[in-house]
Structures are given as C-alpha cells and as structure tokens.
Amino acid sequence: MVSPNPAENNGGSALPSAEARALNDVVIRLAGNSQDGIQTIGGFLARLAGRSDQDVMTYMTIPSTISGGPSIFQVRMGTGDILSSGDQADFLVAFYQHSYESHLSSLRPGGVLLYDADHVKPNPDDKRFTAIAAPITSGTVEAVGGSSKDKGKNLYVLGLIARVFNLDVVKLSSLVKERFGGKTEDIVRNAMLAFDAGYAWPADNVRDCFYRFNPPTRISGRPQVTLDGNSAMTYGLIAAGVRYGSGYPITPWSSIMEMLRAELPKYGGLFVQAEDELGAVSYALGFSYSGHLAITGSSGPGLSLKMEALGWAVMAEMPLIVINVQRGGPSTGMPTNVEQSDLLQALYGSHGDAPRVVLAPRDVEDCFYIAIEAARIARAYSTPVIILTDQALSSRIEAFDEPDLPALMVDPKPDLSARPADFKPYPLDRITHHAPPGSRVGSGVYPTVTGLEHDELGHPTGSPQLHTKMTAKRREKFKTLAATLPAAEAFGDTEGDVLLVGWGSTYGPVREALARLRKDGVKAAQLHLRHLNPLPPGLEELFRRYRDIIVVEINDEGLYGYGQLATLLRARYANPAIRSLTKTDGLTFKVSEIVTGVTKRLDRATTV
C-alpha cells in the first residue's frame, strides 16, 4: 500500500515532460477549510475514478462548528481494488498554515506537498518531502477576476492535480459542467477559468512530479456508479420496495431521512419527520401495520429511544427496518466520529426476550444490497431488522458496479388478500404473516395485534405454557432464517495461524491487513460477518481451523478484555482462541494498526 505505487512497466507518457511515472493508486489529502469546497474537488476526483473504471474510496472529516472550519477530504483512487482510504497520504494539498501544520504528519516521507504559496510558509529545513509551492489564491483571483475573490480555488487545485496526475481533462470538465449545470453560466465559466488556470500553471519546474495511472484492470460490462454509503442505503431501500418511513434528525443518520423525504413522494410514498424517535418508530410501525413495510432510523442515542417500541414490534411480530448509523458514544459522545459500539444494543437493547435480526454492511456497495436483504427478511419473517452502519460508511464515497435494477426492484404492493376462515394472526406452527387492515377474514373475526402475551388469535393470555410456546415461536423463526443463510466462508488460507474476524466498515482495512500478514508468512484468513443475528452457519467448524481468532472492531475492550462481537462469539462458541483487537479513538482502523495489533497478539500467543 505504499504509494504512489511505482509499477513495473514504465510505458510511454502522454505528458510533454516525458517524465510521467506510472502508478497503481494514490492517496491525495486535501486539507483546508470546509468553506473552500474541498469536498467538491474530492467528489470530482471520486466520480472521475468511477467513470474511468478505476476504484476509489474517500474519507472526510466534518468540521466541529456549523460555520465551517478546518476539514479534510482524502481520496484514494487508482487501478485495482481499493479497500481502504489509505493510512498515509502520498500527496498533500495544504491550503493554509494550519492545514500544513496539522496534516504534514499524515504525509509519507518521500511524498509530495503541494501548498498555497500565498498562505503557507513551510519549514525550509524539512527535506522529507517534495514541495511544490503554487500560487493557489493569487492564481485563482487572477484567473477568475471580478468580485468572486478567491472563490474557485478548489477548482484551481483540481486543475493542478489533473496536470500532475495526467487526469482525463475532458471527463473532468464534463463533470464540472454537470455539477454546475443548473447554475448560471457565470458560475460554470468561472469554474472552468479557475480549473484551466490551475492546469496551465507551469508545474514543469518540479520535474519529479508527473504521474499517470496504470490502465484499469476492471472487467465488468456494467458502468460504475460513485456515491456515499447513506445514499446507497437510501436507494437500496427504494429498490426493496420500501415507500414509507419516519425519523428524527441526528448526525450522521439525517441524510438518509432527508433523501427519503425528497425521493419517496416520486414513488408514491412518504416520509414523516416525527416529534422524536419514539414517535418516529411508532409512525413507522403504523405504516408497517397498515401493510407497507416501513423504515425508521437514527444514530446511537436515538436508537435507545426506539427500544420500547422495538420490544412491541418483536412481541406483535411486525415487520420493520431500523437503520442505526453508529457514531462515537455513549450519549452525545463524538457525533461526527466512527464507532462500532452499538452492536450489543442492537441485539439486546429493549426489554424481555426480544430477538430480532441484525445486519451490517461491509462497504458502500453493500449498503445498497443489505437494505434489500433487510426488507426481504423483515417481510418473510415478520420481524424488525436492524441495520448497523456507521459514520465512516455513511459519508465515504466509493465506486461500484451499477446494480442490475430490473432484476432487483421489489413491488411495494401490500398484501390485502382475503384471509381464510381459519386465519390466525399468531399461529404456533407457522411463521406469522401480518394481515393488514382492509384484508377481509373469512371467519369475520378480525385480529388485534398486541404487545401483551397472546394466544394464536391474539387474545391476551397469562398462561405459563403459552408464554413459553410463544417465546419459542418468536425465537425459532430465526433458526429457520439462519439455516437459509450462506455458510460462513473465510478469505485467505483455509487453515493456519490466525482468523481475522470483523463486521461493518472494517472490511476493507482488515482485508488489506490480511494481505500484508500473509506476505510476511503468516497463515491467515479473514471472516467478515454481515449477519450478526442470527449468525450464519459453519462458524464453529471454521474457528477450529485456526490457532488464533482475532476479532477486530472499533469499540471498547470492556471490563473483561473483549470487544462486543468478541464477547458475543465467545459466549456462543465458548472458544478460548477468540480474542480482541479494539480501539476507541473514533477513527477507522488503519491497516498498519491491524497488522501491528495482530502481530503483537500472535507473538504473545506463541511466547506465553
């Protein structure tokens, strides 16, 4: 992952300097203030990669104040699979002195520092990097002129980057034009003026700094789409035939509800902004009861507020999708940081014995597909399904194959067919299928869905036998579901030293760490769990094939030294080889952190 990855073949260059060096992928970090539009250039680069059959992953920080402030946008783009946004930057763009000072440490030695000569005074004695001083502010002002001041310097920088990395200028300018297409001509013209000025800036004095990407190796007939995790989840819900929902704003969940509010009416549905999360889950359950599988969602504290109603949904066996975009907790915690600390809340929050399904997407593409799977399970098993995504996935951008929508779209039609005379809302020998109001019942006896323990017809009961049987009914359906899940499969060595187990957004970094460990001679494999409740079959057998099992997750090791998934797996499989690699700094795992952490644990395992 040390990049720019010089490639073996040094083919001809398109650049006049003839110095362009081939590379596989590059990590570009843009450090400035959020109001400078660095997200915009990052977005252009990501979209360009997607359109050019390259892979891409982005990472951004959100400024802590409303009015903006220091923020970064990091893009890793290039040839082949990109699984993480990169531990270190190869190319740092510093807009201000504070950007330079805060982010120089993220630049790998030998990397390139591009800075705004109008704002940044780098340490002249620091010879670790190739420094390029570009007049970003004055160059932009000069190019655009008029009253817009330095507005547009993000596009100037985009021009510079396009030049340095020999990017496809035609594709880039059409992206810029599409983006600003709806605006006035002035805006498009100014954007292109700034872009062209950056592109034309004579960077040739830095002869070292021309690159071009190796040709893409991607083989798929489908075009790529480039989007963030929350958008992918939203469109997955729509593909799954989900047309109704309700929520209450909280970062980083809000963008899903905002998109659904805008999108669903086009599809004949609606999304209610409720008075709070207790109301939101209730509206959603009302929609589901009315026959439309509904979605509600939140982040950490909001999920806690939905827990009482979730207990009802389990008891009444009402289908529902609950999205939880995890963030740093507890309480308001670190609302714009990532954490995977809601796993046990998702499984066991609420009261009583209240089993429900918990799924976690592994990357942006999976956010789309897991929403479809969640809807399928919710309908088939008449159950709430919680999707645990996280802050990192919510905002990062990735490119993936455009989904085969004609094959995937689900008809949202509710089932209002007449029910036979022997219809039972809660049959003991079958999985419940809710009969929404409007459906006639042959017997003329209409069902009451209920949070009280009940008999097969929904009548309240205090019978000890029935409570036992109904509790079992609500549990057993998930054994039926588990049996239909694909057996757990590990990627890598089929047996050996260590199995790295992860869930959620750590998928990419763990996969990269695995490659490094195996390169170092460790016999290792990765198991990534998308189904957290119920767990897929085959884990027991799989775990036996590795000397060590290390569960990598972004949460606390707890009182007894195990993270949340590790705790769960140890309780389930009673396998002492299961151990934990956790952290709580609110940041995604770096590949190097996993490699170091695993190596340390393996050393200890052999010496103790």
């Binding site: 997607g50 359109r51 075009p223 789409v225 480039t226 989007l227 469109y235 593909a239 109704y244 309700s246 999108e263 009416p265 086009k266 599809y267 004949g268 549905g269 609606l270 209610v272 409720a274 008075e275 207790l278 109301g279 939101a280 209730s282 509206y283 959603a284 359950l285 009302g286 929609f287 009861y289 009315s290 026959g291 439309h292 509904a294 009482e308 109603a309 009802w312 455009e402 929508l405 779209m409 039609k413 509710p414 209002l416 007449a418 929404p436 109001p437 409007g438 459906s439 006639r440 019942v441 003329g444 006896v445 209409y446 069902p447 009451t448 869905v449 209920t450 949070g451 009280l452 009548h459």
Partner: protein, 315 residues
C-alpha cells in the same frame, strides 16, 4: 395516499350486510362492573352501526391503560400498542392507508402524560383519525396514582396527602394543540357520546373527544357534579345555527379558536359538546398533493425508470 389500485374492491353499502353490534362484539370487557368505559364502548358500537363502514376498513387502536384495553372488546382490525404512543402509530396507519377509518382510544395518563408530546404534534399535523380520551382523573390500571388531570387535593398512592401539582386543563391543551375537531362528553350521556363520536368520525382531519369516564374503583363520584341524577348539571354548548336570529349571536362559533379557549376555561364542571370544528388541510391531503406534484414532474415514469435515472446521474 396509497395508489388506489392496491386496494381490493369494496362492496357498495347496499350490497353489504349492515354492520351490527353482534358483528362488532369481541371479548367480554375486563373492566370493573360500573366502570364508565362500558358506556363508551357501547356508544362506539352504536356509532359504527350507524356509520356502517365496510367492516374490514375499521381500525381500533389503543395505548396502555384500563381504557386502552378497548380494542380487545371490538371485533375490527386493531392493535394494542405501547403506553402513550398510539397516536403516532395510528397517524402512520391513516397516512399509509387513506381508505381506512382509524379510531384511537386511551386514558388521561396515556394521552396527557406519557403521550403528551405526541398528542401535540400529531394534532398539529392533522391526520384523518378520531381519538377518544377516556378521562377518569386517575391511573386506573396501575391502581390509583396521580394523573395529569387529578385535581389538587385528590389522595392517591403517590400523593397520600393529596395531589398538589397543578393539573392540566385538557380542553385548553387540545385547543392549543391545533386539533381541528374538539369535543367533550360524559360517559353517563349515551346519546350525546354517540353523537360526538359520529361527528368526530365524519370530520375531515384530526378529531378528539375527551369523555369524562368514571373509575368506580379508584375515583368514584369524580364527575357527579355533571350528572343531573346526582344533583349536578350537564351543561351543553349552544352551537351557532347561522340563522340570523338575535339569540344566535350569543351562541358558540365552533370555528373560533379564541371562543373555544374561552369555553375551555369555564369553571368546573364546564360545558359539553363541540368546542371546535374547523377546516384545515389534512396531512393525508397535503402528502397526497406532494406526491401528485412529484409524479407530475416525473411524467409518469415507473419506479424502475426513476431509480435507473438516479443511478445514471451517479455514473
């Protein structure tokens, strides 16, 4: 809301057997003998018989409390939800399915205490549904704790020396909430109750009725001052008839919120009848309009085409 094509055909009223009390009766009520809630149930049957909606289109919902056991005693589609939150649930039912007739029942604790915030917000959204609050001034199901309507001085298990927190004024709260139909009735007045339920059901929007319904177990005699047979007065609101007579000037204009608020401030036991009955677009209608406008812009594109065009923009 929902596209009409999803709905199974409904027989015209003339081809259906009329809805009878027999068809509407379910489990025998578990209330204490003499509980005011029996009369409310009776009037609900009567109102439904008269309204004669298609049986399968009636929804009877409730929260938690003695009064909230209601749905088990009514043979319609329905649900017994959680304490205080049956309103947003039922609003979801109404917004999801505009073809249904949604009725919600609950107590004073359920509606004004744990559900107080939901009541305010659902009311202002004005979904099409009818909400009946069976107010007994006490927590019945949990056996006599102070409720938000318990009068000062009332002795409960949580206020053994007498309640001293200021009780809410239900009708003032309801006027303030933005509900578009507000009425008050009394469980001893069967005809009045039935009439109020009928009018509420026929109101296009969020309709709510407070019914004083005595808890004979924990607050006997609470509402005697409005029971004529016990020496009280059942004072009725005189609604404006718009007949141009001089008497009419003094009658209550049910579209006037300020007048409704004034009526709600009458000294105990206050007046009964319709406080407010006004028109405001329902959330059902506003959301349907939003859908219609969105559909117009997308020019009848299918769901598949819409999502395909979204993905095309993300290439």
């Amino acid at each position: 809301m929902s596209a009409p094509e999803i709905l199974p055909p409904v027989l015209p009223a003339t081809d259906r057997a009329p809805l009878t009390k027999k068809a509407l009766t379910a489990d025998h009520p578990t209330w204490c003998p003499g509980c005011g809630d029996f009369a409310v149930l009776h009037c609900y049957y009567r109102a439904l018989e008269k309204l004669n909606y298609p049986h399968e289109k009636i929804v009877t919902m409730a929260g938690i409390g003695c009064s909230s056991r209601f749905p088990y005693f009514v043979n319609t589609h329905g649900g017994h939800y959680i304490h205080g939150r049956s309103l947003p649930f039922s609003a979801g039912v109404s917004l999801g399915r505009d073809d249904l007739h949604v009725f919600v029942f609950g107590g004073d604790g359920d509606g004004f205490s744990i559900g107080g915030n939901h009541l305010d917000h659902v009311a202002r959204k004005n979904p099409r549904l009818t909400y009946v609050i069976m107010d007994n001034f006490v927590y019945g199901l949990t056996k006599k704790q102070t409720s938000p309507t318990s009068p000062i001085g009332f002795k409960t298990k949580t206020d053994p020396t007498g309640a001293f927190d200021q009780p809410i004024n239900p009708m003032r709260k309801l006027v303030d909430s933005g509900a578009t139909f507000i009425a008050r009735s009394h469980a001893t007045q069967v005809n009045h109750m039935t009439e109020m339920i009928m009018r509420a059901a026929q109101h296009d929007g969020f309709s709510v009725i407070e019914i004083l319904s005595e808890c004979v177990e924990f607050y006997p005699g609470a509402f005697d001052s409005s029971v004529p047979r016990k020496g009280g007065t059942f004072g009725l609101i005189q609604e404006k008839k718009h007949d141009g007579t001089p008497e009419d000037a003094a009658r209550h204009d049910t579209t006037d919120e300020v007048a409704a608020y004034r009526l709600a401030s009458e000294p105990w036991p206050g007046l009964f009848g319709v406080f407010l009955d006004k028109k405001r677009p329902t959330k059902n209608q506003l959301e349907a309009d939003l859908i219609a406008r969105a559909r117009e812009r997308t020019k009848g594109a299918s769901d598949l085409q819409l999502l395909q065009s979204t993905f095309a923009r993300l290439r």
